[in-house]
Symmetry: C2
Subunit: 451 residues, 2 copies
């Protein structure tokens, strides 16, 4: 520690809030002095919300375990049915549009048209195309559609916009970004080791007993209700009647639904709406987020969108869309122009066909996985209107099952408990994979896990 | 209002915190009932932090005024010296790398290598390249470098990671995202119309009297100090001695510096460091954010990075980098793979030369603008080690000057007050533009604004 420098240590540690300010009585005369300063830690306290989070975010954690398995078993031919990551090339018509968009940035005219800062909410041509292709017949207009770098990013940003101290409800199990981002924004008071739930967040169990549609009455006092259909991870697609019940309750209690439609292209059942805005009144209580990730293989390219309808108002009558616009303008600079070029190519006839074929391919994979587990004697859910197959291990610890599957077959699945406590006893198998890998996974599973 | 439904209206309006929960005594029996529900506003209160923000974010506001001017004057040939947006094509060697990266996503092998979800912190090859090209000779390692979709986005995310109730200090004037993102995260108690400052945020005036380097003692009690060099908007590049003073104070008081180096490629003066990590001890107190936007014309492509050194610790001794890693894993999914391909191409010899030439071109523009104003009899700052020329209008209202310039010359500049109250009396001219436009702007200005 530098001479003449008083360092007042702080009594509050371990993520607690510390208001103390170190008093310093230093006269520093030249730069060299600083090299002698020992400053092992700063005076900046850690955000206690960050300290609440358990371990790592789910998928990086699984990637870490996969890497460790591979290091211990260098010859293992790992097949990932874990993170829902696309594996097939982007359809050629879409790649062509993207390449043309990229090449144009090397020309005067192309750069002048789309090279520089774009609108934070996305190119209007793309917003209009999304409204036309995905929201025709609903009250949604192009100016309600905000293009972004993906749903996960938008979920974090919208929780930042809503601010701290919100009453959040989630399906249990659900995509972990809902809860983790809520915790970061201070919407929980801490993790409860007994229930495996974050306090102050309402968990609505979805399991075989309720056909994976929750008891919504648990969320009557919630302000923001996350709802994903087709659901990640259970694969359950909600019916029109169920979504009507969801929307009606929100209209009555005055809550907002944050509806995650990232997998709606996988819906085949006509009784399951592809957007929440098919439900009357949804434009007054629902935000819908969606993405090209699973439609066109854009998981790495990054392009999604979120809908904030004009009719959505805060309790003071002010516009939610207007705050979102301000939020995006302040914390975002638009999705990559090359990704937007690819997005426009998605909306052409050839692009739409490419996406349809790609989704059909992954649905066939899902059917193979589903029938594999069924033939082996397991209870299996999802996999029909979703790329996820949700396999019951009847009360077993899901991390234990995950580990057993990895060790016996070199297959990475996702432990159900990673999506919430009600996911324990299940594992999620993702249908994203080459046909060769899916067939090989089916073979290995049959060999080692048949009942 | 639906029959049988009691709607309790809330007495707290206008962005106030409202804890009331509507009591509903409804028995809803079928979906049709919802269509009769009138729900003009919800029960979700507006975030009072969002309500604190003044008008729109600066640059969308200016874009709006520009559009209005064009509508009123359809024949106007507008030249923008406003938002610092690049205008020249991306260097061909970089475009070639980007196009190859995009095309590869249409092939099995290419998609398999880089098509799917990437690491949230960026491809390690790119992180290593950034560390090598920009941080050689400093303590920064590749694992300290986090690739992202840009500095503005990272600033918002890092304020989210730090959480609410922070003591923030900024140079005045400065890039508006620092203050606006701080306000969104609840680090201010409101806007003071008299001082034109957000309360609880420390403004450190930078003006001609202090040679645009602030009195740092004002920030002795601050936790997070934003510092931008070369500065946006004043164009001032801090010297080694000045940055040493900044780092030493932070080490002594235990605060963190968030150092914005987005324009450091424009530095020509050898006495001005290109990264804060040239200063001894900076790795213990500084986060540095940077971007390809102004180096390679990536404003629309979106690729930047932020450095969180391993030695940076919270007051409890825990790792800031580790929290940032968790933050990025939860709220981000990696920069676009095509943008990362372009970033890798930037780091080749041909890419580095392309960037150097591009920066030199914009610096020539800056020199033209600077000498134009000087010849016209104005006091002018910046424009030597930065792409911004900061023109004094000696106490005049800067929005008024902005409007006068727009109306008389069809040139968009940026009013200094948009960057903070100490910016009033100045306008910022951006050197991003074609040579033809810069010369034409110089001609128009000389015609209408010569003293």
């Amino acid at each position: 520690m530098g001479g003449g420098r008083a360092r007042v240590s702080c009594a509050v540690t371990d993520g607690g809030w510390c208001a103390c300010v170190r008093r310093v009585s230093v006269r520093r005369t030249h730069a060299r002095r600083a090299r002698t300063v020992v400053n092992a830690s700063s005076n900046v306290r850690r955000n206690p919300n960050m300290a609440q989070l358990k371990a790592g975010y789910l998928f990086p954690e699984i990637a870490r375990i996969r890497t460790a398995h591979l290091e211990a078993n260098p010859d293992a031919k790992i097949i990932s049915l874990g993170i829902g990551d696309t594996t097939e090339p982007i359809p050629q018509a879409i790649v062509d549009g993207m390449v043309a968009g990229a090449a144009a940035l090397g020309t005067k005219a192309g750069y002048s048209a789309k090279g520089g800062y774009g609108a934070e909410a996305g190119q209007m041509e793309l917003r209009a195309g999304l409204a036309e292709k995905f929201y025709a017949g609903t009250p949604i207009e192009k100016t309600d559609v905000f293009v972004s770098d993906g749903s996960k990013c938008d979920i974090s940003r919208m929780l930042q916009m809503f601010g701290t101290g919100r009453k959040i409800a989630v399906q249990d199990p659900s995509y972990p970004a809902y809860v983790d981002s809520s915790v970061i924004m201070g919407n929980s008071t801490g993790f409860d080791d007994a229930t495996k739930q974050y306090q102050n967040i309402t968990y609505m169990p979805c399991n075989a007993d309720n056909d994976f549609f929750p008891d919504l009455s648990k969320a009557k006092n919630s302000e923001l209700i996350f709802f994903c259909s087709p659901n990640n991870p259970t694969g359950a697609a909600a019916t029109r009647a169920q979504l009507t019940q969801l929307v009606n309750q929100a209209l009555e209690t005055g809550s907002f639904i944050i509806y995650d439609a990232a997998y709606s292209a996988f819906i085949g059942n006509d009784d399951c709406p592809k957007t929440i805005y098919e439900i009357p009144g949804a434009e007054k209580c629902c935000i819908e987020t969606c993405s090209f990730s699973k439609y066109a293989g854009f998981t790495g390219l990054r392009l999604g969108w979120t809908v904030f309808p004009e009719a959505l108002k805060f309790s003071d009558g002010s516009s939610v869309r207007q705050d979102w616009n301000r939020m995006m303008g302040t914390s975002f600079n638009g999705a990559s122009n090359v990704a937007q070029a690819a997005g426009l190519a998605c909306l052409t006839d050839a692009g739409m066909k490419g996406m349809k074929d790609l989704v059909a391919f992954y649905k066939e994979n899902a059917a193979i996985l589903k029938s594999t587990w069924e033939e082996m004697g397991y209870k299996v859910y999802g996999g029909t209107d979703a790329p996820y197959v949700w396999v019951s291990f009847e009360g077993r610890d899901s991390w234990e099952v995950f580990t057993e599957i990895l060790q016996k077959t070199d297959i990475v699945v996702t432990p159900g408990a990673g999506f919430g406590p009600a996911g324990n006893g299940y594992v999620r198998c993702s249908a994203f994979g080459s046909r060769e890998n899916i067939n090989e996974a089916a073979r290995r599973l049959k060999e080692k896990f048949s009942k």
